[in-house]
């Protein structure tokens, strides 16, 4: 390998992407690479929000400190990001690069479009996490097994240096769990064979926005004004795993649930009963805890 090897991670907040990127940098350093970097990129710090992380690995010290725009390898921790926008994942990926995907949902592979000459590697990180019970706050740490898959795909770092790096960042018991996940992923990673039509010309990296020169106030663009609307961020009902259900037999129309709902999703219907708007209810359980007559129960959502 000559020059700088650049890696981009795609995942969601809470999946351990930033931690895994840091572990990869330490592992590469243990491997003998002199220049290593790990850079997180986070918009709003919120669980479930899309995030990216970057790594640079080089034999010589690195003087570049920007985000990665033209990666040699892309690691996709959450496959739903590909189904949302294929180009967002492969943008800037060099032809001949590596794409490592967590295939919890295999149906996305057939619709995948990658730059010519890329090799695609698949690993089922979700099952590995579920099997080893690798969770933090109820969320699977999907990024850990992806380290093993990355090592297998690129042969850039060895399992041994990954193991050293993990042992130095976690306590003994937790480290073992993580090492197991990495080893398991290393063994189960396989190369995908795509159809010829799935290879497309490389997607150019996104360019910075140019600000036009302004000489007079009439050159200014029209002021952007937002309009009030329900669901300003989408149907937030997708966030919940359990939904509140009101038992009208027990309800005495005290409307405490309506008063305390932080989301304003509880309305009052014509007969005076509270009514929940399930399109936007985030399932925070405040109404369930505040109902004085225990008329609200939480039911596991079927999806």
């Amino acid at each position: 390998m000559s020059g700088i090897f650049e890696v981009r991670w795609h995942g969601r907040g809470g999946q351990g992407v930033v931690t895994a990127s840091r572990i990869l940098a330490v592992a590469a350093f243990n491997e003998g690479f002199v220049g290593v970097q790990s850079i997180p990129w986070i918009g709003a710090e919120r669980r479930g929000a899309q995030i990216e992380a970057y790594n640079r690995i080089s034999r010589t010290p690195i003087l570049l400190h920007s985000q990665v725009y033209a990666p040699d390898a892309v690691i996709v921790v959450d496959p739903s990001i590909i189904s949302e926008d294929n180009n967002a994942v492969v943008r800037g990926l060099k032809s001949g690069g590596f794409l490592v995907i967590n295939t919890a949902r295999s149906n996305i592979i057939s619709s995948l479009r990658v730059p010519e000459g890329c090799s695609v590697y698949l690993v089922d990180a979700t099952s590995i996490c579920l099997e080893l019970d690798l969770q933090v706050a109820g969320l699977e740490v999907l990024a850990m097994p992806m380290l093993g898959a990355f090592a297998k795909a690129t042969s850039l770092v060895s399992l041994k240096s990954l193991e050293e790096s993990i042992t130095s960042s976690f306590e003994a018991e937790l480290a073992k769990k993580n090492v197991d996940a990495v080893v398991k992923a290393y063994e189960s990673t396989r190369k995908a064979h795509l159809m010829p039509e799935q290879y497309v010309p490389p997607v150019p990296p996104s360019k910075p926005i140019r600000i036009p020169e302004i000489h007079h106030w009439t050159d200014l663009p029209p002021v952007p004004v937002s309009t009030p609307s329900k669901g300003s961020i989408g149907n937030t009902g997708d966030w919940r795993t359990r939904k509140p259900v009101i038992d009208k037999e027990k309800c005495n129309k005290c409307l405490f649930c309506w008063m305390y709902c932080p989301e304003a999703t509880i309305n009052i219907d014509d007969s005076g009963f509270p009514q929940i708007d399930y399109n936007y209810c985030k399932g925070c359980e405040v109404c369930f805890n505040e109902c004085p007559r225990k008329a609200i129960s939480m039911v596991v959502e079927e999806k």
Partner: protein
């Protein structure tokens, strides 16, 4: 306040904003310096509040509100209420100079500080308003300094109306906002809003934790009207009936952010709260400053 905004589940400050807007009505303009509020009110092209709303730089909220008040006055519009909705970081740390300036000029607007006791929007960093002993990412062993008392600082500016409230008491918040709307000059309302991700508790307990804060005496609800200090009913109740007072340990142990506090420290905190309540009982109904 419309549903489907991007606030976290169980957010105390959306609950507070909902009741503030209910009390103020349609003829309101919100100025919002950088905070969680900027996120949950929404991204272009949609917003989650149905009144005019302006996002401002961190330190410039009260300055922008002053400009807005001046503009409305020049147009002769007298029935519009201007409010500034800011977080505790934007109030106690970064925005305090322009806030103090607008209080000194007695600009005719209402300033709301929703206090979630740290910089929650950027992932829980310590602010001047974080209580002692609380974990944040920048105080991993617990904060050593005590909380800055913004409401009393504002009262010392001799503004016509200062009040504290809590999102778990919507009726109290609604009443104080209604009252503030009728007063001319600078008004300041400080609202304690529990934050499930930052305070480390289950989302469903968001209202209960706020109630525990008031019932234990950790957070006092009061008004300072023209310099006269008066406790609000929820706080007066625990003063008059000490048996209804909840030990502060219950409030502390219900949250993950205080897990570094030892039993000794909690006993000490309990003693501090007891002596604070004694002093407050003497002050009730009397002028606060000489």
């Amino acid at each position: 306040m419309l549903p489907g905004n991007s606030a976290c589940q169980g957010c105390g400050s959306t609950l507070a904003l909902r009741w503030v807007l209910k009390a103020l009505g349609k003829k309101t303009v919100i100025v919002n310096p950088a905070s969680c509020g900027c996120v949950y009110v929404g991204l272009y092209p949609r917003t989650a509040v149905s009144v005019p709303y302006i996002q401002m730089a961190f330190a410039a909220g009260p300055a922008a509100a002053s400009g807005m008040v001046g503009g409305l006055e020049a147009q002769g519009k007298k029935d519009v209420t201007v409010i500034c909705w800011a977080g505790d970081g934007g109030t106690a740390d970064i925005g305090v100079s322009s806030l103090s300036g607008s209080a000194e000029r007695n600009t005719n607007y209402i300033y709301f500080c929703y206090d979630n006791e740290a910089y929650m929007n950027t992932g829980t960093q310590r602010s001047g308003s974080t209580p002692a002993g609380a974990w944040t990412t920048t105080t991993p062993l617990g904060k050593k300094e005590s909380k800055k008392d913004m409401a009393l600082i504002m009262a010392a500016h001799r503004v016509p109306y200062v009040a504290t409230s809590c999102s778990s008491y919507p009726a109290d918040l609604y009443g104080k906002t209604k009252k503030a709307k009728l007063i001319q000059g600078m008004r300041y309302i400080h609202i304690l809003t529990p934050c499930p991700p930052g305070w480390r508790f289950d989302t469903g307990l968001a209202v209960k934790i706020g109630r525990l804060a008031v019932q234990s005496g950790m957070w006092l609800l009061y008004e300072v009207e023209n310099g006269v200090f008066r406790l609000s009913p929820p706080s007066r109740k625990i003063l008059e009936n000490p048996e209804k007072r909840v030990p502060v340990k219950e409030y502390i142990r219900a949250q993950g952010r205080f897990r570094g506090m030892s039993e000794n420290e909690i006993t000490l905190l309990q003693e501090m709260i007891d002596s604070k309540l004694e002093k407050v009982a003497e002050l009730d109904g009397k002028p606060l400053f000489f």
